[in-house]
C-alpha cells in the first residue's frame, strides 16, 4: 500500500505542493531536451540524406566546440573564430565525403555505421593530439551570449532561468525553423530527401551525391557547433562531451530516424519526462540516476506501438 502510494500518489502531491519547483524541473528538462534535439537533428539530417546512421555526430560536437575555443585561445577574436570554425567543419565534411563516403557508396547500412564509428575514433585521437585533453571554458561572453540569470519569484518559491539557456533555446528554435524551410522549400532540400530514398535514382537524375553529402555533413557540422556552444556554456568543453551522443539516440527512436519534427518533439519530450521521472520517481524510489536508461526504455515502449517512431516514415512493406 505504501508502495503504491509512493508510486501513484506521493509524486503528484509533491508536484502540487511545490509548483515553483515543478516549474524549475520542467524548465531544466526543456533546456536539456533542446540540446538532445539538436544532436538528434544532426543524426536525422545525415540519415535522411544517406541512410547513414552517423555515430560521429557526438564527436563532431566536441570537435567543433574545441576548434572554436582553441582558435580563441590562439588569439583569434571570437567573432572571427566562429566563421573560421565553420570553415574547419566544411573541410571536415569534404574530407569525410572523400575518404569515407565516396569509397563506401552503396554498401550496407551497418558497414557505413561502423565507418562512422571509425571516424569517431579517428577524431578522438586527432582532436586530443591537437587540442589536448583538458577541460576548456566555452567563450560564452566573447560570443556575446548573456550569462546572467533571471530569478522569478513564483508560488512562494522561485524559478531561476539562466540567460544562456534561454539563448540556446531561442537559438535552436531559429536554427530548426531555418532547417525546415531549407529542406522543404529548396531544390537542395528536396534533393536531400530524394537521396534518402534511392541513391542510384538520385544519381540518375543528375543529383550529385558528393555535393549533397558535403552540404549535409556541413550542416550537421553547423548543428554540432551550435550544440557545442550551447552545451559547452553549461559545463565546459572536453572530450567527456562525446557521451552526449548516447542521449540523442533514444530521441531518434522516439521521433523517427528521418523526421526533423520527430527529433525536436522527441528531444523535448524526453528531456522533460526524464527529468520529471528522475526527480519524482527515480531519486526517491530507485536510487537515482535513472536518466541513464529512462529515455531508452520510454522510446522502446513507444516503438512497440509504432515501430517507426512517432514521426518516422512508414515502412513500406510489400511483396
Amino acid at each position: 500500500m505504501d508502495f503504491l502510494n509512493a508510486i501513484f500518489v506521493q509524486p503528484f502531491a509533491d508536484m502540487a505542493a511545490a509548483p515553483d519547483f515543478l516549474l524549475q524541473v520542467v524548465w531544466e528538462g526543456l533546456v536539456g531536451g533542446v540540446l538532445y534535439a539538436l544532436i538528434a537533428l544532426g543524426f536525422v539530417l545525415i540519415y535522411k540524406s544517406s541512410r547513414i546512421f552517423n555515430f560521429a555526430q557526438g564527436i563532431m560536437v566536441v570537435f567543433a566546440a574545441l576548434t572554436l575555443v582553441g582558435l580563441h585561445e590562439k588569439g583569434v577574436p571570437a567573432l572571427l573564430a566562429l566563421p573560421l570554425t565553420l570553415l574547419v567543419m566544411l573541410v571536415l565534411a569534404v574530407a569525410i565525403e572523400r575518404a569515407v563516403l565516396r569509397p563506401l557508396v552503396n554498401q550496407p547500412d551497418i558497414i557505413l555505421f561502423m565507418a562512422t564509428i571509425g571516424i569517431t575514433l579517428f577524431l578522438i585521437g586527432f582532436g586530443e593530439i591537437i587540442f589536448g585533453g583538458e577541460n576548456k571554458v566555452m567563450i560564452t561572453r566573447e560570443l556575446m551570449i548573456p550569462t546572467d540569470s533571471i530569478t522569478m519569484d513564483l508560488f512562494g518559491g522561485f524559478v531561476s532561468i539562466e540567460e544562456k539557456d534561454l539563448t540556446s533555446v531561442i537559438g535552436s528554435v531559429l536554427l530548426v525553423a531555418a532547417l525546415l524551410l531549407f529542406l522543404n522549400r529548396t531544390k537542395t532540400g528536396r534533393a536531400i530527401r530524394a537521396l534518402g530514398d534511392d541513391h542510384q535514382a538520385a544519381l540518375s537524375v543528375g543529383i550529385s551525391l558528393s555535393t549533397i553529402w558535403v552540404v549535409v555533413w556541413f550542416i550537421a557540422g553547423v548543428i554540432a557547433l551550435a550544440t557545442g556552444i550551447a552545451w559547452g556554456a553549461r559545463a565546459g568543453v572536453s572530450f567527456a562531451l562525446e557521451v552526449i551522443a548516447y542521449k540523442a539516440l533514444p530521441v531518434l527512436m522516439l521521433g523517427g530516424l528521418e523526421s526533423v519534427m520527430g527529433a525536436i518533439i522527441g528531444g523535448l519530450a524526453i528531456g522533460i519526462l526524464e527529468k520529471l521521472f528522475e526527480v519524482y520517481w527515480g531519486q526517491p524510489l530507485m536510487g537515482g540516476n535513472t536518466e541513464a536508461w529512462f529515455a531508452y526504455v520510454l522510446a522502446l515502449i513507444v516503438l512497440l506501438f509504432r515501430p517507426q517512431g512517432l514521426f518516422g516514415e512508414r515502412i513500406i512493406e510489400r511483396v
Binding site: Q24, V31, E128, E134, R234, G236, A240, Y246, G288
Partner: protein
C-alpha cells in the same frame, strides 16, 4: 620495458591517463610525478647514484587498458601505480602473487590501510574514509554530534571511487544522528547534473560532500552556483579540488572548499629546483607555467616524493643500489615523512607529515582544508586529523571480509597494530 633491465637503474612504471574523459585531471598529476623523477635524475644524477626510469603506460582511466598496462610493465617494476580505484581493485588480488607493491596515494580501497591483510597495498597519507571523517570533523567544528539532525548529501560519481566513502558515512550517520543522502552521478550525466541539483534544491541538505572526478567537478560547481547552493556548505574530497575545474567557474565558485593532503607552495625550494632543472631545459610536459602552481601538479610531485623516499629507505636498509619490489615494499612500510624530512626535500608544508608501519599502510597523516578564492586554492585550516577510533573497526571488518571472500588470502600475523 627494456630500459629497466639494467642493474643500475630502477624501473618505476606509472599507469597514467592523459587521454579520455578524465584527462583534464590526470594530466597535471602525471606531469608532477614525472617531473619529480626527472628532477632527481637531472639534479642529483638519480637516487644515490642510481638512475630512476620513469615510464608511463596510458590507460585512459579504462580498467581494461589498466590491467593490460599492469601486465606489460610488471616484469621489472618495483612498484605499480594503478591510478584508478577500478584498476586498483583489479590489481589488488594479484599483488600477493606477483609480489609487487601497489602505491595508491589517497585513493583505492580504504581498508588497504590494514597492512596485515593487504600486505602489498599502500594508500598514504590518508584514505577516503580518513577524508570523509576529516570533512565531517571540519564542518561539525570538531564534534560530530553537532551534526545531529542535519542532512548531508554525498554527491558522487557512480563508480567504485565515488561509492567508497558510503559505508563509513552510513555508520557515522547512525552514530551521530545525521541523515545521509547519497546522490549518484552517472558517467554520462557528468556534464549535465541538473537532476542531481534539483534534488539538492528540493532536499535542502545542510552540507553537500562531493566525491567527483574529471568533468563532474566543474559541472557540479556550476550547478551549485546556479542553484544558489551556499558555496561554504559544499566540500569536495581531494580529487575535487583541481584548479583547472574551478577556473571554468571562476568567481562564482568562491568559497568552495576541498580537503587536501597536499598544498601548493610555489615558492618552495623544490619548485625552484623544478623550474631550474626540469622546466627551463624543456624537459617537462607542462603546457604553461601556471600549471606549476596548481594543486594537482604539486600533488603529483609529492606522490613521486613518497615513492622515492620509500625506495631510498629500501636502498639504505638493504644496501642495494637497485632494490627489488620486495625491498621497496619494506621501504613503503617504513616511511617516515616527518616535517624535518620534508624540509630536507625542500617541500616543507607541501605534504601532511605521516609515518607508515607494517600494520598501517596509510599513515593517516590527515589533511588541510583548501578554499577557492576565485583564482586559486588557498589553505584555510590547520591540520585536520581523522577520527581513527571511528574508522578502525570498520576497516578491520571490511578487510577481514575481503580476505574471506578471496580465500585463501595470506595474512601477515607478524605485524602488531
Amino acid at each position: 620495458a627494456p630500459a629497466s633491465a639494467q642493474e643500475d637503474s630502477i624501473y618505476i612504471p606509472n599507469l597514467s591517463y592523459r587521454t579520455g574523459p578524465f584527462a583534464a585531471t590526470g594530466t597535471p598529476l602525471m606531469n608532477g610525478q614525472r617531473d619529480y623523477i626527472t628532477l632527481l635524475n637531472e639534479r642529483d644524477g638519480g637516487l644515490n647514484g642510481t638512475k630512476l626510469v620513469y615510464d608511463e603506460c596510458e590507460t585512459g582511466y579504462n580498467t581494461e587498458k589498466g590491467v593490460e598496462c599492469y601486465e606489460r610493465t610488471k616484469e621489472n617494476a618495483v612498484v605499480t601505480q594503478p591510478w584508478s580505484t577500478g584498476i586498483t581493485l583489479q590489481v589488488l588480488p594479484k599483488s600477493n602473487v606477483d609480489e609487487i607493491p601497489i602505491l595508491a596515494p589517497g585513493y583505492g580501497f580504504s581498508p588497504m590501510a590494514n597492512g596485515k591483510v593487504f600486505q602489498w597495498a599502500f594508500n598514504p597519507p590518508s584514505s577516503y574514509w580518513d577524508g570523509a571523517s576529516m570533512i565531517l570533523k571540519h564542518i561539525s567544528e570538531g564534534n560530530l554530534d553537532n551534526l545531529n539532525g542535519k542532512k548531508i548529501a554525498l554527491l558522487h560519481l557512480d563508480h567504485p571511487y565515488g561509492k567508497e566513502p558510503i559505508p563509513l558515512l552510513e555508520v557515522l550517520a547512525e552514530k551521530h544522528g545525521f541523515t545521509l543522502l547519497p546522490i549518484p552521478v552517472g558517467l554520462t550525466e557528468m556534464q549535465n547534473q541538473s537532476a542531481q541539483w534539483l534534488q539538492i534544491r528540493r532536499e535542502r541538505p545542510d552540507f553537500v560532500l562531493m566525491w567527483g572526478w574529471g568533468a563532474m567537478n566543474a559541472g557540479a560547481v556550476t550547478e551549485a552556483a546556479k542553484t544558489r547552493y551556499p558555496m561554504d556548505q559544499f566540500i569536495g574530497i581531494w580529487w575535487s579540488g583541481h584548479d583547472g575545474d574551478l577556473k571554468l567557474i571562476g568567481e562564482e565558485g568562491k568559497g568552495y572548499r576541498s580537503i587536501s593532503w597536499s598544498v601548493p607552495m610555489p615558492d618552495s625550494q623544490l619548485l625552484q629546483d623544478v623550474r631550474e632543472y626540469v622546466v627551463e631545459p624543456g624537459k617537462s610536459l607542462i603546457e604553461n607555467e601556471s600549471e606549476l602552481d596548481s594543486v594537482f601538479y604539486q600533488r603529483g610531485l609529492m606522490i613521486s616524493a613518497i615513492l622515492v623516499e620509500a625506495i631510498r629507505a629500501a636502498q639504505e636498509e638493504f644496501d642495494a643500489q637497485a632494490p627489488d619490489a620486495t625491498q621497496v615494499r619494506w621501504g613503503l612500510e617504513n616511511l617516515n615523512m616527518d616535517e624535518a624530512r620534508l624540509e630536507e626535500l625542500g617541500a616543507a608544508g607541501m605534504l601532511v607529515p605521516f609515518k607508515t608501519s607494517c600494520a598501517d599502510h596509510t599513515g593517516h597523516g590527515g589533511a588541510w582544508m583548501l578554499e577557492w578564492d576565485g583564482e586559486k586554492f588557498v589553505k584555510v585550516s590547520d591540520l585536520i586529523t581523522p577520527d581513527r577510533e571511528a574508522i578502525e573497526p570498520l576497516e578491520e571488518q571490511e578487510a577481514q571480509a575481503y580476505a574471506e571472500a578471496n580465500a585463501p588470502w595470506p595474512i601477515n600475523e607478524e605485524c602488531n597494530m
